[in-house]
Symmetry: C2
Subunit: 457 residues, 2 copies
């Protein structure tokens, strides 16, 4: 079906991008054969480090003509195998396209290249008092965040990546360069191509530039941590906080196993009980005091065993450091094992049922698993250590949890994307809508050269 | 190209929807021949009032087979001719599909039929302390708001319609019923079909059901009104307020003509000067005091001539009543004229240049025109009274203003949609992206039966 990457192909690509921007060395291929997921590595046949949109256009037009697969690569920090070149072919790395093109400070916007890490972006934006809010962790590239519609801890207030993008430059499979959207924050002008490309995981086009929405950095921040005897009580508090008008910037749930793990490793005095972590942002410190009073009342009413609140920055950062590094902390406790990361999301009213299902399943099947996630969004991750011997049982648990989430009117993936691991659930989740996605794909990439093997089963 | 609506067609449609749900009476056709725009009326050949998705599916499958145009109809309150049946054919009215299907209060969601008016929805939601935030005015139907991606005054805080929808049921041109999205607030599961259909103005499918995001009704609200000598000063204040972390729920600009008009008619003591109207929402009244202090400082620094602030509900409602009814007030001042409503949006940093362009143009061409709009979003409307004699000059002004907005990295339409009046700007605004939209249209509606004559030039 696809053509092989022959020496002639490599030679032609070298002409397109230059000697210094191409490699077929095994060490380079290996470094770009796997993301941070547990999916099997697969090396591309050749890597090109593109430097500008014209090169991307020429590479794609050529690959399309030759029927060679093309997969985009940002930072390799994704968690569902999204940039693994399953069918080999050309890996287009955006690592060299990592510049800020323009900061539009008065507009709370920035125009960037896709290879830029969001943490690096925020470092450069700090002096303007602005930041790009989605925070998936690691130092994900903007291009990867757009391709996977990444989200993170602060989504409950600031939205996911798709909520923070105004325009993009995209190169289609045939090399056409299109501009989707505009720098106007209000747009009602024809089909919303920006959102069609966001979350398409590089299967409809490669994003070469984006104008992002920025938020003002809050002048004052506070944190609150409350633990509960029962998951239901914790989730009752989550629902009440969301409805209270306190506008949380983060509203996280950690199960007892996760809290036990991070408390021990971070020298925090937290009980190993279902716990919610909250953060609030405000322009006046007085506002925060009012919010924390409301939150304390809500948590008490929900039966909290213990509530800590702080407007002290150092204390807040210490608490949140533990949450931000929960995954690494958990991984360190299981040094010789790989980790299976599950990502599902449901309407918040179904969250207790989903968590109860997970708890029952892992206990009945005797599986070690840590459940933690963005409760304010109904999003949960299950981090499960496994070995070759236990892989099948962990894989099966993921299947059961995803099917449960879908049955609760939720989704197979809240923020990691479909990638390799979730394509088998697409028909169940989307039904006939998957056919529509397939028709759109067929229209925009008729030779299926873009990131083959992803999204569609 | 299209088949006529013959007696046989009417007879077949009658079998599909029932005697009581179909009409070819001229009075009914006339009532559904025009929205609230100044575009020329055009009657459909037949109207069907659908009652459920199965009927919509059967009507579309039949129309597609017969090559008969189909245009959707909600409340007829749109402002760009969006539901005018330009090519005749079948008008599918959703006026009878106007029920709330389910209120998911804990999830801050509601599932509704498309014919429901958003004001009626909010009346029914009030007892839950929740509301659907987009507020385009009139009593627009939810289906129409989705189809046009309507927005309104509170978009600056709560987003446009597209930001407040989680899932939709859509009937495609061939009658297939698809479910796009899910009730999970976080979704990263395949192509974002929800946003593909939103704003497609009934040219890709007809929306038969939607699950909307709701917001908690703020416990406390305040208003602030500040007037300035110069437009630039007013916009400087707008930018500063947006960047202050005070999170305005409304941030409106009215030019001197508009303010003069509404002040006189509403017995308000406002100077006929460039003015900004602001609203703030908070869970504590103390929060509002802090916000109003910040806002007063910002406006003073920007050179405000006068600043009024209030946390009193009656005073706030009186001020905002004037803003909400500005259009009607202006229309009443020109009783024998029609109105041309222009809708463009630009990045906020370009707003002063856009407003200056409008002021210069109307003064040089001696055109009476009122400029007012959602400054926090860079969105402006120009309401221009016209007669048969002055139509051409008003049309030309609209052309110039739209081209200016596009040149400032803005858009031909911020919230009214493309409809009839803006299709001629699509190539200029979107370039090659318009070809992509065309390809998507061709794929999903190969016989071009859905709302022909809209969006594409």
């Amino acid at each position: 079906m696809y053509s092989p990457v022959t020496p002639e192909v490599v030679s032609h690509l070298t002409q397109l991008v230059g000697d210094e921007n191409i490699s077929t060395r095994q060490s380079d291929l290996d470094l770009h054969s796997q993301d941070q997921s547990a999916h099997e590595a697969h090396a591309p046949d050749v890597i090109v480090w593109v430097e500008n949109v014209a090169q991307v256009s020429r590479v794609l037009a050529y690959a399309n003509e030759q029927r060679i697969p093309v997969t985009g690569w940002g930072a390799g920090s994704s968690l569902e195998g999204n940039p693994i070149a399953l069918c080999g072919g050309i890996l287009v790395s955006f690592e060299h396209m990592n510049k800020i093109i323009a900061i539009h400070a008065d507009d709370f916007q920035v125009t960037v290249q896709p290879g830029l890490g969001y943490k690096d972006l925020n470092t450069q934006l700090a002096s303007h008092g602005l930041f790009f809010a989605p925070d998936p962790g690691a130092n994900a590239s903007i291009g990867g965040m757009l391709a996977n519609n990444a989200a993170g801890i602060r989504t409950v207030k600031y939205g996911a990546t798709k909520d923070n993008v105004l325009r993009m430059q995209v190169v289609l499979a045939d090399g056409r360069i299109v501009e989707a959207g505009s720098r106007s924050v209000k747009q009602s002008s024809g089909y919303d191509l920006v959102h069609l490309f966001i979350g398409s995981e590089g299967t409809l086009g490669l994003i070469t530039e984006a104008t992002l929405k920025l938020a003002p950095i809050a002048e004052h921040m506070s944190a609150a941590v409350a633990c509960f005897e029962r998951v239901d009580d914790a989730i009752q508090a989550v629902v009440a906080v969301r409805g209270s008008g306190t506008d949380p910037a983060a509203l996280e749930f950690l199960d007892a196993f996760s809290v036990g793990s991070i408390s021990e490793s971070n020298d925090l005095d937290l009980a190993a009980k279902p716990t919610i972590f909250m953060e609030f942002h405000a322009s006046h410190v007085g506002v925060l005091e009012g919010i924390l009073n409301t939150v304390r009342e809500i948590c008490q009413e929900a039966g909290a065993l213990n509530i800590k609140t702080t407007t002290n920055n150092a204390e807040r950062l210490k608490l949140w450091h533990a949450r931000h590094h929960a995954y690494e902390t958990i991984v360190r406790r299981h040094p010789d094992q790989k980790f299976y990361i599950s990502d599902v999301a449901v309407p918040i009213s179904a969250y207790p049922e989903l968590i109860a299902f997970i708890e029952t399943y892992r206990s009945e099947h005797n599986i070690t698993a840590y459940a933690l996630g963005h409760a304010g969004d109904g999003n949960i991750h299950i981090c499960t250590p496994f070995t070759a011997d236990t892989y099948r049982s962990v894989y099966d648990m993921n299947t059961e949890v995803v099917e449960k989430a879908i049955s609760l009117h939720g989704t197979a993936t809240g923020e990691h994307g479909v990638g390799i691991g979730k394509s088998r659930f697409m028909k169940m989740e989307h039904g006939l809508a998957l056919d529509v996605m397939h028709e759109v794909k067929q229209t925009l990439d008729p030779n299926w050269i873009l990131n083959p093997g992803k999204i569609f089963p």
